[in-house]
C-alpha cells in the first residue's frame, strides 16, 4: 500500500513524462500481445488443424539431377506422395491435398474468386473441418472422380446468397459440382487447412499431375500418439532416400516432414534437410521481442534514473533509518512492476481492440482470435520481463548511492 501510494504520487509529479512513458510501455506490450496472440493461434489452432500436435506435413522438396546441374525445388508431387509416401507404416493416417488455387465462379452474377483445394477422401480424418450441413466426400467417391464439392459457409453465402446449398450445382473451371457439404469458415492462419471449396483430386479435368515427384501437393500425416512423430520423420526420410524417379536423370531428393513451427522455420531459413532450424527460429523471435522492448525499456530506465536523482534524499533517509540495499532495490522494482503492469493492462485493452480490428478487416480471412489463459500468461510474463529489464539497472544505481551524499542533495 505504502509503495502503491508513493508510486502514484511520484508518477503524478511529472504527468507528461509519465504519460509518454506509459504510452511507450502500453504500445510495446500491445504489439507484443497481438504478436503473441497471432503466434499462439498459429501454433495452437482451434479450427481444422486443432490436432496439430499429432500432425506432420510433407511439403517442400528439392530434386537434383546426377551431375548437379539441375535443381528443382517445389512442394511435393502427387506421384511421390501417392506412390511412395502413402504406403508408409508408422503414420496412423495419411491424406493428400493440393495447395489452394484460385478459381473463378460467376453464378452470383459477379466474378467470385474461390480458393479451391483438391483432396483425397482421407483428409477429413486428419483435419477437423466442422460440418454445418451434409458431410464429406469419401475416398471411394474420389476414386470414382465424383463431381461433388464441399464449400465453406462464406462460399455458400457469396455464391448462393444462402447457407442452404446442399444439392445445388457449383461451376468450377467449366465443370459442374454438386454441393454435398458445408463447413465452417477456416482462418487464413491455418494455412495448411485453409480453403473455400474442396473437390476430389480425381475430379480435376487435367490429371497431368499424377506423374510428378515435385509439384503442388501436401502430404498430411496423423500420428496415433506424440511419441510416433519421430518414427514418422525417420520413415519419411528413408522413403525420400529410396525414391525411384520416373525421370532417371534425377537422382537425389531431399525434404522433411514438419510440424507447424518447423514448417515456419523451413520457410524462413530454407533448407531441405530432415531437421529444420526451429530452435534458431524461436531464438530469433525471442531476440526480436527483446530488441523491440529495448527502446521503451531504455526510456523507462532514463525516467527511473532521473527520478532516483530527484528522490536521492528519500533514499538517504530510508537508508539512514535502516533500509538495506536489497530493501531499496525491492522498492524500486516493485514500483517499476506496478508501472509496467499498469501499462500492461492498457496494452491488453489496446491489444483486444487491435485484434478485433484485424478480425473485422480481412487481413486474415475468417480469422478468429482467442485471448486465452496461455496468451494471458505469456503477456504477464512479458510484462514482468519488461518491468525487471527496465528497473534493474536504475535500482542497482540507486542502491549504490551513499547515504551521506544522497542526504546532501536537497532536491526533494
Amino acid at each position: 500500500m505504502h509503495s502503491f501510494k508513493l508510486l502514484l504520487k511520484v508518477l503524478a509529479r511529472r504527468k507528461f513524462f509519465t504519460l509518454v512513458n506509459l504510452f511507450g510501455i502500453s504500445f510495446t506490450l500491445m504489439v507484443l500481445l497481438v504478436g503473441t496472440t497471432l503466434f499462439e493461434n498459429f501454433l495452437f489452432p482451434r479450427g481444422p488443424e486443432k490436432r496439430s500436435d499429432l500432425m506432420l506435413v510433407a511439403q517442400r522438396l528439392e530434386m537434383t539431377n546426377d551431375d548437379n546441374t539441375t535443381t528443382w525445388t517445389s512442394d511435393a508431387g502427387y506421384y511421390f506422395l501417392d506412390r511412395f509416401v502413402r504406403p508408409m507404416k508408422t503414420p496412423h493416417k495419411f491424406a493428400i491435398m493440393g495447395n489452394a488455387t484460385t478459381v473463378m465462379n460467376y453464378q452470383s452474377g459477379a466474378k467470385v474468386e474461390l480458393a479451391m483445394r483438391p483432396a483425397d477422401g482421407n483428409i477429413w480424418d486428419i483435419l477437423d473441418y466442422q460440418f454445418l450441413a451434409g458431410g464429406p466426400f469419401s475416398e471411394a467417391q474420389n476414386q470414382a472422380a465424383a463431381q461433388v464439392a464441399i464449400v465453406s459457409r462464406g462460399t455458400a453465402e457469396t455464391v448462393f446468397g444462402t447457407d442452404q446449398v446442399l444439392g445445388k450445382s457449383l461451376e468450377i473451371n467449366g465443370l459442374v459440382y454438386e454441393v454435398i457439404g458445408v463447413v465452417q469458415n477456416v482462418s487464413r492462419l491455418e494455412s495448411r487447412a485453409y480453403g473455400e471449396v474442396w473437390v476430389p483430386i480425381n475430379s480435376l479435368k487435367d490429371q497431368s499431375f499424377k506423374d510428378k515427384i515435385v509439384d503442388d501437393f501436401l502430404g498430411f500425416f496423423l500420428a496415433e500418439k506424440a511419441s510416433d512423430l519421430p518414427l514418422i520423420k525417420d520413415e519419411y526420410d528413408e522413403v525420400i532416400k529410396n525414391v525411384v524417379f520416373p525421370d532417371p536423370s534425377f537422382t537425389v531428393l531431399r525434404g522433411g516432414a514438419d510440424n507447424k513451427i518447423e514448417m515456419m522455420a523451413r520457410s524462413v531459413f530454407g533448407g531441405y534437410e530432415k531437421e529444420t532450424q526451429a530452435g534458431q527460429l524461436l531464438g530469433v523471435i525471442l531476440g526480436l521481442v527483446l530488441l523491440f522492448m529495448t527502446l521503451p525499456a531504455i526510456n523507462l530506465m532514463n525516467l527511473n534514473t532521473s527520478r532516483i536523482m530527484e528522490r536521492s534524499s528519500e533514499i538517504g533517509v530510508r537508508k539512514a533509518f535502516g533500509a538495506t540495499t536489497w530493501d531499496l532495490m525491492k522498492q524500486l522494482l516493485r514500483e517499476n512492476l506496478l508501472l509496467t503492469t499498469l501499462g500492461g493492462l492498457v496494452g491488453l485493452l489496446l491489444a483486444v481492440l487491435v485484434l478485433s480490428l484485424i478480425a473485422s478487416s480481412q487481413i486474415f480471412p475468417y480469422f478468429e482470435w482467442h485471448l486465452n489463459f496461455r496468451v494471458f500468461l505469456a503477456g504477464f510474463f512479458l510484462v514482468c520481463v519488461f518491468g525487471l529489464y527496465s528497473g534493474l539497472y536504475p535500482a542497482f544505481n540507486m542502491s549504490r548511492l551513499e547515504v551521506v551524499s544522497s542526504l546532501k542533495r536537497r532536491a526533494l
Binding site: K5, E314, A320, F321, G322, A323, T324, V404, L412
Partner: protein, 221 residues
C-alpha cells in the same frame, strides 16, 4: 554507550588527501545529552555520520554499547541503525509525497512491525511531539517547526537508545528552535535517550550536559 578510540577520517583523491577527523578519543555515557560545536568544515557532520554508521572511519575503533561497529557489513550496519539510532537532520528530510503518518512509520517498515502496531507507535510518537492532529497532513502543509517535530517523531518512533541531531534548530526561528530543544530535553530526561547534537548555536548548546568542540578535525575540549 559510545566509545571512539583514535578515530581518523581521510578523504583521498588521486592528488590530495583531506583529513576530516584525526585522533578522536571520545566517551559518551548512556543518557547524556552532548552537543558538538565548531566552525564550518571542522568535521562535525563527519563525526556525526560516523557515530550514526552512515560513514566509516579510515582508522580507529568505534564501540557502540560495547560492540565494535566501525567495520560492520552494510546489512548489519543498516540493522543497527534501524534498531538503535534515530536521526534528525537540519533540513528535516521528510518525504514530500507521503503524509505525516507514512513518514513517521518509515523506521518501523524496515523492522517488520505489523500495521496495527505501527499505527499505535506512530500515534504515540506524534503525541509526544504534540502533532497528533496532523496525521494526514503532507509536509508542505506544515510550518518548519512542525516539520522538524514530525522528523523528531520519525526519529523516536522506534524508541532508539541514541538520537543524532545535525543542527536540528538550524533552519528554524528562535521560538521554534526552543520548542524543538524542549522536546529533545524532555526525551533525554524522561526516557534516558542519549542525544548527540551538532549545532552552531551557543545558546542551545548550553542547554546540553556537555559541549565538545572540534577544530580542524580534532577535539579541542
Amino acid at each position: 554507550m559510545i566509545e571512539l578510540n583514535d578515530i581518523e577520517k581521510a578523504y583521498r583523491t588521486e592528488r590530495i588527501e583531506t583529513i576530516a577527523l584525526q585522533s578522536i578519543q571520545l566517551k559518551i555515557h548512556k543518557g547524556q545529552f552532548v552537543s558538538i560545536m565548531g566552525p564550518s568544515g571542522c568535521g562535525k557532520s563527519t563525526l556525526l555520520n560516523i557515530l550514526g554508521l552512515l560513514d566509516k572511519p579510515s582508522k580507529g575503533n568505534y564501540l557502540l554499547d560495547g560492540q565494535a561497529v566501525n567495520q560492520l557489513p552494510s546489512k548489519k550496519s543498516a540493522q543497527t541503525r534501524n534498531q538503535k539510532i534515530g536521526f534528525i537532520f537540519q533540513s528535516f528530510h521528510l518525504i514530500p509525497d507521503l503524509n505525516v503518518m507514512d513518514n513517521v512509520e518509515i523506521p518501523l517498515l524496515y523492522r517488520g512491525v505489523g500495521r496495527q502496531e505501527r499505527m499505535r507507535l506512530v500515534a504515540e510518537a506524534l503525541d509526544r511531539v504534540q502533532l497528533s492532529a496532523r496525521v494526514h497532513h503532507y509536509p508542505n502543509q506544515l510550518s518548519g517547526g512542525q516539520q522538524q517535530r514530525v522528523a523528531i517523531a520519525r526519529a523516536i518512533v522506534g524508541k532508539p537508545e541514541l538520537l543524532l541531531a545535525d543542527e536540528p534548530t538550524g533552519n528554524l526561528d528562535s521560538h521554534m528552535g526552543n520548542e524543538v530543544m524542549d522536546i529533545l530535553k524532555e526525551l533525554n530526561r524522561d526516557h534516558q535517550t542519549t542525544i548527540v547534537m551538532v549545532t552552531h548555536d551557543e545558546h542551545q548548546a548550553k542547554k546540553t550536559d556537555a559541549i565538545l568542540r572540534l577544530f580542524d578535525g580534532r577535539l579541542v575540549a
